[in-house]
């Protein structure tokens, strides 16, 4: 009896809690606070934060492995996050399903009206690769313990696309997945703070005031055929990007074709919501103190911020370059939307544009590079998976 009482006491968190776990519970609560109070991508950061709290409760067994006897019968079940992480994230299923849902939510109309903006979505991916160099330098110099795979996974934060970052990190650097996902979603939420100073620094008021010609209307047929064109090009040129872009285009095709509205509706609502809850809890499961409380995380957070900034700058500079050679005027601000972070980055471009000229509505013009950025970062992800994995 006293024995049992002692057991119960030994089972308590008070007795078992290590400092690292305590610190990570605080990190989880901080994410919850940022999600609720500051509105930092709450759909993901709230489940991630709770997931981080739960996985760090000592003795709660959220990441416990199931145990089987010799006959294959379960003697002890696994924890909830064990099944979520190994079933949905390690396999890549959850990010791909989310990407399908994002595809079903994406309107490529503004991009199809002005395909040149795809170049802005390409340029902004420079943030990804510059960050890879940064991480490689930290690794090569021995300051931090980064391999090429780690560097590639860290760089993808600059793609400003959550599911892509999680998909790449789960394949190239699962130990860094927690920090990478947190960095990606945090900076996506911070776009309205990170981007405007860079935008103002790189452009003159005249440039920011440039009005763009109204977009031509895009036909239903173009919208239906476009995702198929992308799938074919991916199949021809970059099969390693096919999981991400294939599911993305599948979702978009369901949206635009007009004959499977009930599937499109489910992909955009019930399905993506269910998977988002579990994806968050699963990503949170990687926020253990060993994996998070170290110098590398500091490196990841710093490099992620740099990636975002460089990507934003590259997009703006490309827009300025295009403006010089293009017959139609291009407002350089929409280049910043090339990082993706849909639709936040496009809204920021619109807002900064309105500051310079109250009649200048850039939102629709910025949506083109914005969705182009999603394609761009998925292509970059494909190159990385092929280069590092192959």
């Amino acid at each position: 009896m006293e024995n049992k009482l002692l057991n119960l006491y030994h089972d308590t968190g008070i007795y078992q809690l290590e400092f690292g776990q305590f610190a990570m519970i605080c990190v989880g609560l901080l994410l919850v606070y940022l999600a609720i109070k500051k509105g930092f991508e709450p759909l993901l950061l709230l489940p991630i934060g709770i997931g981080a709290v739960l996985v760090n409760i000592p003795g709660a067994g959220f990441m416990a492995e199931p145990i089987y006897d010799a006959a294959g019968h379960m003697t002890s079940p696994g924890g909830l996050q064990y099944y979520i992480y190994h079933g949905g994230i390690e396999t890549g299923l959850f990010p791909l399903i989310i990407f399908m849902g994002v595809g079903a939510m994406t309107d490529f109309g503004p991009m199809l009206a002005n395909p040149k903006t795809l170049l802005l979505g390409a340029a902004a991916q420079f943030g990804i690769f510059a960050t890879v160099i940064g991480a490689v330098l930290l690794g090569a110099s021995g300051i931090m313990d980064f391999t090429l795979a780690d560097a590639a996974a860290i760089g993808i934060i600059g793609g400003a696309d959550g599911p892509t970052a999680i998909f790449v990190a789960s394949r190239l650097a699962p130990d860094l997945l927690g920090a990478i996902a947190v960095a990606a979603y945090s900076y996506m939420a911070l776009v309205p703070l990170i981007q405007p100073p860079i935008m103002r620094a790189l452009t003159s008021k005249e440039e920011r005031s440039i009005k763009m010609v109204q977009l031509r209307p895009v036909t239903k047929k173009e919208k239906i055929v476009f995702p198929i064109v992308v799938i074919i090009l991916v199949a021809m040129f970059l099969p390693s990007a096919a999981p991400l872009l294939g599911m993305f285009c599948f979702g978009n095709l369901m949206r635009e074709c007009g004959v499977v509205d009930r599937l499109s509706d489910t992909a955009q609502n019930a399905l993506i919501n269910i998977v988002t809850v579990f994806l968050g809890l699963g990503v949170g499961s990687k926020l253990s103190s060993e994996a998070f409380l170290n110098l590398e995380t500091l490196g990841i957070l710093s490099l992620g911020l740099i990636a975002f900034s460089i990507g934003t700058a590259a997009g703006i500079l490309m827009a300025k370059l295009m403006n010089r050679f293009s017959t139609e005027a291009i407002n350089p601000l929409i280049g910043a939307a090339g990082v993706s972070a849909v639709p936040m980055a496009a809204r920021v471009a619109n807002k900064v544009g309105l500051e310079a000229n109250k009649q200048n509505f850039l939102l629709m013009h910025a949506m083109g590079p914005n969705v182009a950025g999603v394609i761009g970062s998925a292509v970059a992800a494909g190159v990385m998976l092929s280069y590092v994995g192959g």
Binding site: G109, P174, V225, V229, A372, Y387
Partner: protein
């Protein structure tokens, strides 16, 4: 033996940092540089091809299957069925209300 090697090469816990010489370091840097050049090159290449493919697609489609009525860009897919139901209902409600009103007026 082979399995052990596989395990080693995939396990993050055995990264051989300590034995990292100058060769390995510069190798890592070279790899990173290669990734950057190839990566940015490929991203641009792919999206430039996509620009041409998209433009070509649009021209073909609009030439062979011209649409008279352009689609509105922001299409509210999810709410479409609801709103159509509501319209029918709106009509019914107004009809009923007006009908009621006339009856009242006559009485």
């Amino acid at each position: 033996m082979l399995l052990f090697v596989v395990h080693l090469s995939t396990s993050k816990h055995h990264k051989q940092v300590e034995s990292k010489g100058i060769d390995a370091m510069s190798g890592l840097f070279e790899d990173g540089l290669g990734l950057m050049v190839l990566g940015m090159g490929f991203v641009f290449l792919f999206l430039v091809i996509l620009i041409f493919a998209t433009g070509y697609m649009s021209r073909l489609l609009n030439h062979f299957f011209p649409e008279v009525l352009p689609v509105v860009t922001a299409r509210p897919v999810a709410s479409a069925p609801d709103s159509s139901g509501v319209d029918a209902q709106l009509t019914a409600v107004i009809t009923a209300a007006v009908h009621q009103h006339r009856n009242n007026k006559n009485s």
